[in-house]
């Protein structure tokens, strides 16, 4: 694995651990006001400073990362699995089924994801379930497009023709013959979707339409501490850096994967 890939892997693992064990290793409860200093600087008692109410930033970030990563993971899995499944149906059935599904997905993809999210929140109010649903719906068409183009390529290969000439039913052709040969690129695509969802949810939270107080994800941490920007407070910089490291490291990791599969294919 390349150096960039190793760096990516390190940060991804670190963030996953933070999301899983964050609450149990956080030095303070998430909502506790522990310091009289608001927008406190880095210190030994509060390694990442304090926020606009004097809460410990390290604890806030550990709790927040669980929201950001958890929500994004669930939404990205939903989007990828749904997209891939619909794509397999479209590609194996072909004909008017493919045409109908593809045009529907085209219609969905033409709706900007942020606009859709804003409308959904405006209509139904913000909740964790709604956020996941919105993100999943927004990113399903993208996953579908990638998966369908992969499946259509695989479909024309001779081993798929051989299966069809053998008289196999379409579900068998889709699941046993086509799916195993598109898993690797779909995993890379899943990583990308995850990053998109993190950015969408962080953006929503930054606008105050995402995760609602007293809970906070990384995006809402940036928003609630935005007034600290003028004082150069760590409280606003640290969650922003957290979002950046998370998304960039996932990207680095994916890039190193696709590079490796590329070389294997060449051999």
């Amino acid at each position: 694995m390349s150096l960039a890939g190793k760096i990516g892997l390190f940060f991804v693992v670190a963030w996953l651990l933070a999301a899983i064990f964050g609450p149990s290793i956080a030095p303070h409860p998430v909502g506790a006001v522990v310091s009289p200093d608001v927008f406190g600087a880095f210190s030994s008692a509060y390694p990442l400073g304090t926020d606009y109410l004097g809460r410990d930033m390290l604890s806030r970030i550990l709790y927040g990362s669980r929201f950001t990563i958890g929500l994004a993971l669930v939404a990205a899995i939903c989007a990828s699995v749904t997209g891939t499944t619909i794509a397999l149906v479209a590609a194996t059935a072909g004909g008017w089924v493919d045409e109908l599904i593809s045009r529907l997905m085209d219609a969905l993809i033409s709706i900007p994801s942020k606009m859709l999210a804003l409308v959904m929140v405006a209509a139904f109010g913000s909740s964790v379930g709604l956020l996941i649903l919105t993100a999943a719906v927004s990113y399903t068409p993208g996953a579908f497009r990638i998966a369908r183009s992969l499946a259509v390529n695989v479909r024309t290969l001779e081993y798929v023709l051989a299966a069809r000439a053998r008289g196999e039913r379409l579900p068998y052709v889709g699941v046993v013959e086509i799916l195993p040969n598109m898993v690797n690129p779909m995993l890379a695509d899943f990583g990308l979707r995850f990053v998109f969802v993190v950015l969408l949810l962080s953006g929503m939270s930054f606008l105050g339409l995402g995760v609602q107080p007293p809970d906070a994800d990384l995006g809402s941490l940036v928003r609630e501490n935005i007034s600290g920007l003028f004082e150069g407070a760590p409280a606003v910089v640290v969650p922003a850096i957290a979002i950046a490291t998370l998304t960039v490291s996932v990207n680095l990791l994916i890039d190193s994967f696709s590079g490796r599969t590329g070389r294997v294919a060449e051999n």
Partner: protein
């Protein structure tokens, strides 16, 4: 200085995944006198292309020229730095690749690309280079030498493009030309026009050349000397006639034996009951119009019969519709008109309407062994599926049957746990066959099963097919572009041209005239394993293939009209040809009678024969 090119102790290594190195070319030495052609011959993986590329001082990614010396003229190629190599390539040594279609940039005109080398290396001004290019076009027998340069690559035929690449390589007057399988991707009727042009140019310009090929018969026409390679080692080097007539090395002998396949035993008696009958079949691709006809018609009015236990060879060039024919029978392409009868019962042309039993009894074996096995599945899983699917056999019984199947196609049982990527091409093709056999079919459709394989491996697969037919009594539809393979394994033969069956008969009928004019062209275009064959060819074979987009003859007329050397003006371009049934059951789709065709073909076919006599007299 005796030789123009001198290679001493050349070795090339490839880096392994674990950091070690494996030699792929081992201690190869040869020399080429000025104006001579040396052929490098061997199977895939023998290192012939690697040696050819090292003459340009080039090693493919992951490879390294590890030792030896290459001298071209006064240049030590392996001592050159990047700048020296830049000056060498395209100027002193030029390269003609296998696929001209992939070597040309579709966005630039042909002339731009042909003169590029000369202009970059500053050997000529643009105007001088263009004048020279036109001269080369004429020498290469290209039509319209003055105008062809203004066209784009997609506007000329494959054979023409290959010759244009030769012009590109020769524009700088290189000291050495490297031709890497330049005719392998071409149809046999196109190959001969390209070979002729190459031969003429090489002779006229006194070019020194290295000709890389796997095809001994082609090499026999082009080369003065042959170097036989296998596994990166030199097996034999000698004058062309010596190698062809008196091969010393066992490997050369096996190559020669495989190049001229012997007829395998005949199948069941010719009056056996019909297993598959195709009547008036029309099929194609694209949207189906109001009249029920697809937009692109690929097959037109095809009648064929395969008797139980016999083998039907279907032969034709690329685009003749032979693969589509197999796919219609397999149910992958629907028929627009006509019927397919299996044991007298009409076979639904649609996949969804066929019963599992119908699927089982007709198995199709696809051409490309590399893509026909699912790379994600193990060999055992690939073979277990038809067993479970058709026969409901699972578990231990299935494992036993898989072992028996592998044994039947002469593969070790240990292969069962491997993935297709770990197998060689010949092994994959055997697994491919075994999968079809697992269904215990009555009819196997073999679509170019040996085309992607090396000659020796292909011959072994043909032997296997003949043996299976004898032991299991299955019928075969054997689709191929290669007439010598068809001759070797088939009882009956049908020749397709542009979707029409133009000629059909028994195996012996394709050994002697009369033929349909296209069948005649096809049969006479197959290079023979002796030098001088190309020079003795009758002139009637020098008909150019039409360029793409030239358009087919109007529907209803003979599809071979614009290439036919014996067409009758006023008749062939007005009236559809009748289907003539000659004595012995041979069918020909032509206005000429059997006797007329025979007269033309016999007199001209004696050309090479009489030439051979001349040669013996001279000796």
């Amino acid at each position: 200085m005796s030789a123009l090119v001198e290679v001493q102790g050349l070795s090339v290594v490839v880096r392994n995944a674990d950091g070690g190195e494996t030699a792929i070319v081992k201690d190869v030495s040869f020399s080429i006198p000025k104006g001579r052609v040396l052929a490098l011959i061997g199977e895939s993986g023998s290192g012939k292309t690697t040696i050819a590329l090292s003459l340009l001082g080039y090693a493919r990614r992951g490879c390294r020229i590890a030792g030896g010396s290459i001298r071209i003229g006064e240049t030590q190629v392996l001592d050159l730095d990047d700048e020296g190599l830049y000056a060498l390539r395209g100027a002193k040594v030029s390269y003609i690749a296998q696929s001209a279609a992939a070597a040309f940039n579709p966005m630039k005109t042909i002339m731009d690309q042909v003169v590029e080398g000369a202009v970059i290396h500053g050997t000529a001004t643009r105007a001088a280079a263009e004048a020279k290019a036109v001269e080369l076009f004429a020498a290469l027998a290209l039509p319209d030498p003055k105008g062809i340069g203004a066209r784009y690559p997609h506007q000329v035929s494959g054979g023409q493009l290959q010759r244009l690449m030769a012009a590109m390589a020769l524009i700088t007057d290189p000291e050495l030309v490297v031709l890497d399988e330049p005719t392998t991707a071409l149809d046999v009727t196109t190959q001969i026009e390209v070979l002729r042009a190459f031969k003429k140019v090489v002779r006229e310009r006194g070019a020194t050349a290295v000709y890389v090929s796997h095809d001994l018969a082609v090499v026999a026409q082009m080369a003065d000397q042959i170097l036989v390679l296998s596994d990166g080692e030199m097996r034999e080097i000698g004058a062309t006639d010596d190698i062809l007539v008196r091969p010393r090395h066992a490997y050369t002998q096996s190559l020669l034996a495989a190049a001229a396949p012997q007829p395998r035993g005949e199948g069941a008696a010719k009056d056996a009951a019909a297993l598959l009958e195709i009547r008036g079949l029309v099929a194609g691709y694209g949207r189906v119009g109001a009249d029920g006809m697809p937009a692109t018609r690929v097959l037109d009015d095809i009648d064929l019969t395969i008797a139980r236990g016999r083998t039907l060879g279907v032969i034709g060039e690329s685009g003749s519709g032979k693969t589509t024919l197999a796919r219609v029978v397999a149910g992958l392409v629907p028929a627009a008109r006509g019927s397919v009868l299996f044991e007298g019962q009409p076979l639904p042309t649609n996949l969804t309407e066929r019963t599992r039993e119908q699927f089982r009894r007709i198995q199709i074996v696809f051409q490309n062994a590399d893509t026909v096995l699912n790379p994600a599945h193990s060999i055992a899983r690939i073979l277990a599926r038809p067993l479970a699917f058709y026969h409901g056999v699972r578990g231990e019984e299935a494992a036993k049957r898989i072992a028996r199947l592998l044994d039947l196609v002469k593969l070790p049982a240990t292969l069962a746990t491997r993935k297709p990527a770990e197998l060689s091409g010949g092994q994959k093709q055997r697994v491919n066959l075994a999968r079809a056999l697992a269904a215990e079919p009555d009819l196997i459709l073999c679509d170019e099963v040996t085309s992607a394989l090396d000659t020796v491996v292909g011959a072994a697969v043909l032997d296997l097919l003949a043996e299976l037919r004898r032991e299991l009594g299955v019928s075969l539809m054997f689709i191929s572009h290669d007439i010598s393979t068809v001759r070797a394994v088939c009882d009956d033969v049908a020749v397709l041209y542009s979707g029409c069956k133009v000629d059909s008969g028994r195996r012996k009928d394709i050994a002697a005239p009369p033929f349909h004019p296209y069948a005649d062209l096809l049969i006479s275009s197959v290079p023979e394993l002796r030098s001088g064959w190309l020079d003795g060819l009758p002139a009637r074979l020098a008909v150019e293939a039409p360029a793409p987009g030239a358009g087919k003859p109007p529907p209803g007329l003979c599809t071979f009209l614009d290439r036919c050397p014996v067409r009758i003006a006023g008749l062939c371009d007005q009236v559809a040809p009748p289907r003539r049934i000659l004595e012995g059951g041979k069918e020909i789709l032509c206005h000429h009678t059997g006797a007329e065709l025979e007269a033309v073909q016999v007199t001209k076919a004696s050309g090479p024969g009489s030439r051979r006599r001349d040669e013996t007299e001279r000796i």
